[in-house]
């Protein structure tokens, strides 16, 4: 064995044999939660290395909500009526925009393949990736929504309700989107198809989200739609990562 770094090689070999001696089943295996945590951290770190991509959906959201006053009328009373729809349609499209990046790089550089072959639950890893996606787009969108709402004439008192509804609703949007993104993996021009697959399924989120926002603006009790949004998010959390994992496996076949 005449490779460079012979002493280091010895350490590695001894470490390896120590593991091997303990038996193949007894190697210190990371648990599913640990694996998911690392996958989440990796995605967050990567996102912060490429901040440009991070800002795009947010800029898009701001831009779309700005277009409406210019296209319709600057009258705040009219804008206020439209605000829930504008905010939600813009949030939906912005999160759709970010979806294209969700798996693209991972599929391209072989990371998804390694995830699928890791022996860890692919469902948990998909959950981690979706969680990262929400932290990077859904949460910032929720935090930006009050600014958009104010510019559309929403009262100050409504802002917490708006943040809450966008935050909860975008969880469901990210989860639904992860299925569509995983299904369209490996296609060349997947953008239009991704929206065709995702938007119809997102309709309930849009309906309850816009209603919650509307009630927040008019000062009504918004608990009912917010609970329905929460139910959608919970349903999504339980089912979407499973479906996304299955879709990823299909794309690797």
């Amino acid at each position: 064995m005449s490779t460079p770094g012979a002493p280091a090689a010895a350490t590695l070999a001894s470490a390896a044999t120590a593991d091997a001696d303990a038996g193949a089943g007894a190697t210190p295996v990371a648990g599913a939660i640990d694996a998911a945590r690392l996958a989440l951290l990796r995605d967050l770190k990567l996102a912060f290395r490429k901040r440009g991509q991070l800002v795009q959906p947010l800029a898009f959201f701001a831009l779309v909500t700005m277009l409406f006053p210019l296209a319709v009328s600057p009258e705040l009373s009219r804008l206020r009526e439209m605000a829930p729809g504008v905010i939600w349609v813009a949030a939906l499209l912005a999160s759709l925009l970010a979806l294209e990046f969700l798996f693209r790089d991972d599929a391209y550089d072989g990371t998804l393949e390694q995830y699928a072959l890791s022996g860890q639950s692919l469902t948990w890893l998909m959950f981690a990736k979706t969680a990262a996606h929400w932290l990077l787009t859904g949460l910032p969108l929720a935090l930006m929504a009050p600014l958009a709402a104010l510019s559309l004439g929403a009262p100050l008192a409504s802002l917490t309700g708006i943040v809450g509804s966008v935050a909860v609703g975008s969880v469901a949007l990210s989860l639904i989107g992860s299925i569509g993104a995983a299904l369209t993996l490996g296609m060349k021009r997947s953008g239009a198809l991704l929206s065709l697959l995702t938007l119809p399924l997102s309709l309930p989120v849009l309906i309850y989200g816009a209603r919650a926002t509307q009630l927040a603006i008019s000062g009504g009790p918004l608990l009912a739609p917010l609970e329905l949004l929460g139910a959608l998010a919970v349903l999504g959390v339980t089912l979407a990562p499973l479906a996304a994992a299955a879709a990823v496996r299909i794309s690797l076949e």
Partner: protein
Amino acid sequence: MLDERLEVENLHLWRGERHVLRGVRFALGRAGCLEVTGPNGSGKTSLLRTLCGLIYPEEGTVLWKGENVRRDLPAFHAALAYLGHEPPLKADLSARENLRYWVGIRRRVAANALDAALERVGASGWCDRLVRTLSAGQRRRVALAGLALLVVPLWILDEPTTNLDAEGQQLVGSLIAEQLARGGLVIAAVHQGLPAAVRDVRRLELPP
């Protein structure tokens, strides 16, 4: 415990209109090394991906420790490391970070073991540079370090020596030899044959 043994029975695979694998069969026991050769398009990569359980064959089974791998894929995957054509590295992470995440998802890895592995592949000097700034050969070396760190009985390697210089090819040879010495199994698709350090290689030639 059952012996670590990979058996492949009558594997048939179609890709679109092409009958790629036509009844592939072999068995590989502890410390066995199998070299898969064949011209481009003969299905080497398809075979390796089928062995991994990524592709579902039309017919035939893959048995690990005497049991169909489909019955417990996660357990099989926990015993397996696969390296494809491209090293599975993130361009925007450093070599060290890449290994920490890639290996860490599968098993806990100590910092000194990571250092040792990087040094082993001659990456100490540049392991903190972003992967996008590394050459193809350097990336391949990082992937090899990851492979060694995974410490699993079965290695499935697709062209492990691509882009490597003479010294890098030797490195591949000694890594494989060590894996075999530990009693591990290695299946590698190769063009020019495995480096000389690996002895007792069995060969599976795929027809064009």
